[in-house]
Symmetry: none
Subunit: 214 residues, 4 copies
DNA sequence: TATGAATGAGGATTCATTCAT
DNA sequence: AATGAATGAATCCTCATTCAT
């Protein structure tokens, strides 16, 4: 009903577009509702497509989910610049990405739910998505360790743990904003919170630590 | 695992013990798997009891879940001392509770999953558990605001946001430990991490803020 | 909790009374709700007795139902006076019984539902109660044929069919009153309707028929 | 019994036919057995279809039941000619419908059970079907009041009660035939009984009443 | 390529019944 | 005699998936 067959080419009644629509609808539902409470019927309905196409394009609900997770986690990674050396300006960019993620008006296309919630919600279900999840987090941690943790902090476990704590901090903020959308933390737009978060981040990043990390 | 009735009198056919076993099995499954992926059949099987007893003792799966959440969230609250005045030593106790929650060897009876995960996992499902979830978090925030945030910080939104950020920090740490159980943050037992977390907490708690908390 | 053991006799903690209470509770529920929607638990609760006693005293739910049906159908029969000869005054009594059954304030102990509804509701379920039902109706028909149908009507099928139609008339009135309790027929207390019903009955009972009854 | 697709085009995989089969099977079971004793599994089996299709086509067991009731009650109504004025010939038609309903060979497709039994059997279960039931009866009563009750009977309650009693009479006959299928009333085909019923009907319809219909 | 009809497995729930005490 | 804990079968419903067209 929505499809005007303006295209005469027999091949592709616009399979790509359909696929894309399905993927997007899936992303939304999975992010907001979680895996189980999302039904393929609903996804198909949202995408204005037939259920069976989910099988055709993605094989199964689980595969579709995996693909969504892949997409989302890729998004969460900063830039996967492979070098161990930090580039100038990379810190800036990474922090900006993280802080932007805290803005209340972001993620409209995800149904106003931070995509990280998708990562947090489902755990231990299947090996594939679990791996993806971990990869994503690890990649984020690596980026932070490389370009945010101060070069003054000696190489070793300490650097790593600091990076992990920074990620933890942002994760916690995302979660709390999500769960208490009416509280101050969520309401207090941008400025004050952002500054304070940056302060904490810098403390974690810079201050020479005394701890031997067990 | 089969029912170590080592204690006093093995009640008649021991409804209490059965109820307890069901509750514990439910707690485990709900915490680790979340609501949907937990089936009543599995709970009953774990508890070595008949499914119908879930209805008998709890009314429904949802009620059982609610009871688990209640129990868990009660536990998560520090002490619900009602006064608005902070008692001496309360800060100590509260921080200890929070920090203990980060220890890797805790939560054995929850299947080695931090019970907070139960609170985080499920969102937006039904009003009842949502409410419980929020209550739990809000109660924690209130406790922190009362007894951790420094009296030096002026009354007002600022105090509240600081408390929220502290809770966010701990939440993030719990989540990260849960998702990356093999990483340093999870492995680095106690000392170093604990100290650093305390540092951050103090910064959040004490430092006179510059932000106006719009 | 409700039972004061004022009775010292070891035998009979008043089994009879319990049995009676169960039977009465069952009658009410079965009459008002029908067989399926009546649960043994509810019966037991109404009777303030333990469920298991239903098995003890009646064997099973079905048996209990059968017993209720027996009791009710016995009640529905006029007097099972066996003779084929009608006694003087019997017509009067029988009609009175039938007409009384139409009074709105009768059947309080049945939950204000005409016990005949119990007979009508469940059909074809099991042979036992079906037989009881039929017996009851047939007995009623026989009574009417003997003592209401005018002696002037020649012996034969005609007499019988007339009796059946009289019973049908009363049955229909009961049903309609039950199903439309707010309609005029139900509201129009006693006098007018009663008289009209009597008129119809007399027409069915007395008027020499022309029909050969196939 | 297996699907006599003798008609035109055997639709694709023929959803309509399946739907129809389900509806018919449901009608039979509901009519003969009542709501509770009818299981969706049995309906599906009778219709040689999958249980899930009941959900697909009707939403739920209750909806299916409602649809059956609607269908049946529609059938029971005479013609829902809306005018308050009676058309000539309408009485004829209505009485014929009613009397035809008494014929033993009718209702083959209902499992030889008068569809009115469906209406009578279930009472007080749920508001929806209760309403349908009442509507059906009330509609029938209204029709009778309009086109059977003699114009000579003054407007007012009296007319209404007369109509109700006529409906009651037919109802009783249906019930008795159903419950005693081997008795004379059921066996006495057509002529005699029909005539007598018409006599009673006329008496109810025409005779100037003495009762004030308080 | 796309459609939607049909399937089957699995979930929560409900009850009558049985069995220790 | 009476209690109430435990059982197992059955019911409705929900979904992902498969199969004709």
């Amino acid at each position: 009903m929505a499809k005007e067959a303006t295209d005469n080419a027999p091949r592709r009644r616009d399979a790509d577009a359909t696929r894309r629509r399905l993927l997007q609808a899936a992303r939304r539902r999975f992010t907001v509702l979680g895996y189980e409470r999302t039904t393929t019927r609903d996804i198909a309905a949202d995408a204005d497509a037939n259920i069976s196409l989910i099988k055709r394009y993605f094989g199964s609900k689980e595969n579709l989910y995996a693909e969504v997770v892949t997409e989302v986690t890729k998004f969460l990674d900063g830039q996967p610049s492979e070098g161990t050396e930090s580039e100038p300006g990379e810190e800036q960019a990474l922090l900006e990405t993280l802080l932007n993620g805290l803005r209340a008006d972001a993620w409209a296309e995800y149904g106003h739910t931070h995509p990280w919630m998708l990562v947090l919600r489902q755990t231990g279900s299947d090996p594939v998505t679990d791996r993806l999840r971990r990869q994503s987090l690890l990649s984020g941690i690596a980026s932070v360790e490389r370009s945010v943790v101060s070069p003054g902090v000696a190489e070793g476990q300490s650097r790593r743990v600091r990076a992990e704590m920074i990620i933890a901090l942002y994760t916690g903020l995302v979660v709390l904003r999500e769960m208490l959308p009416k509280e101050l933390l969520a309401a207090a737009q941008d400025d004050g919170v952002t500054e304070e978060v940056l302060n904490l981040t810098r403390q974690l990043a810079d201050r020479p630590s005394t701890w031997p990390a067990s």
